[in-house]
Amino acid sequence: MEWINAIVQGILLGGLYALFAAGLSLMFGVMRFVNLAHGDFIVAGAFGALLLFERLGLHPLLTLVIVLPVMAVFGYVGQRLVLNRVVGRDILPSILVTFGFSVILQNLMLEQFSADSQRLSAGALDTASFAIGTLSIGAVPLLMFGAAVAVLGGLNWFFGHTNTGRLLRATSDDGEIIGLMGADRRHLFAVATAIASAVVAIAGVLMAVKTNFDPSAGPIRLLFAFEAVIIGGLGSLWGTLVGGIILGVAQGIGAQIDPGLQILAGHIVFLIILVVRPQGLFPKQKG
């Protein structure tokens, strides 16, 4: 029973990992751009929620009403003003710039919030749970998983059924000629970053409710996001969810064997999949 419980908790945790990964995957897919500050932006979203919770007394989940649009606008403007200058054939400039962002963000947060580990309390929601048979499923993990499915489903619909979604998919396929379609690539890139930042905001706020976080918590989130994306296969949002779940379950089982094995078990499963199926479980169709 403990094992089943570990697996179920792992699946639910996978939802959060999928949210970590979706923004990273989106930006890489559209721009071939690796945002090394991705994890730090997630943590910044969490601190944003903390700030609003402490100053305005907003319910942690309600902080999203402010955190999400602020981060989306920040993403759009940041892409237009800074990142669009380093997008290109050479991936190195973008890596250096986002690495710089990562360092700056971590230190700004350290300056502002100290190195203490923080946690957002969602009140009664924290301890609420549902009993299914002998399993006990927490409300927060369930909410996270539901949010992940909703966000990924929403993105999937957006990419499949809207003109902007089609343009972003086309940019991912062949960004060089997207101008022939009358679309400004710089704007599309910024839209992609804005959407990714909105997902980052959701991931950050949920993470703040779920676990402890501190200014240096970003890089490990980035690593989980990378692993979920690569396990799932680049270019597939549902694949990202599966990747997150596999990572979450691996960590859950690892922790069940020995609490010290939690993170390591996830990495080991990731490496095994990388060796056996380097293109990921659901790779994008190539033309």
Binding site: R169, A170, D173, I177, I178, G179, L180, A183, D184, G287
Partner: protein, 238 residues
Amino acid sequence: MTDLLKIDGLDAFYGDFQALFRIDFKMAEAETVALVGANGAGKSTFLKCLTGLLGTRGQSVVYRGTNIAGLPSFQIARQGIAMSPEGRRLFPSLSVRENLMLGANVGRKGQWDLAAVQALFPILEEKRDIPATLLSGGQQQMVAIGRALMSNPALLLLDEVSLGLAPVIVRDIYAALPDIRAGGTAVLLVEQDISMALQVSERMYCFQEGHVSLSGASAEMTRDMISAAYFGRDKEVT
């Protein structure tokens, strides 16, 4: 007759490599012009300059009375220059219909919409939900032309439409040309098949190593003049 396009002394570069040298070029509204030349003569480079995919900042590319040199490609597309690019460049993760719809993103009104393109190439309606790059080469070419038409261009650039296709398929594609021109769309076609190019065009240009080596009315061209301009055996014919 007013000029649709007038280009004076266009140079083009890939880094330090100069691909085009002082190209003078003119097209009238609704005219069909062929551009021929050997591989590497600069034909596709020239089309890239016209569409803004290759920078032409500070030069003279006058389209309908305004200089479009140096404009980004999306603005040029919105002003009415569309291209079916070399190698077709369809978007693999989009269906046939979605590829066509993207052409309409340019946002120009006119006779061409999804229904009109599907009437021009009926096979595209039948295959509308299939990923575009799973189609046969000829059908993919139809998608590429249809996608360009969806923007209701004043000037349609067709780059190597017949490349790698069976003659019977090429004939099918060229059969659409009268319908395209009927709406007043000017067509600039780059073509390896010289007799086909001369047959459908009013005027032609021949490029050789980045220079215009021959230009004039298609009907007056002889085989010898073209082969001389094409291979550069005799520069006197210019």
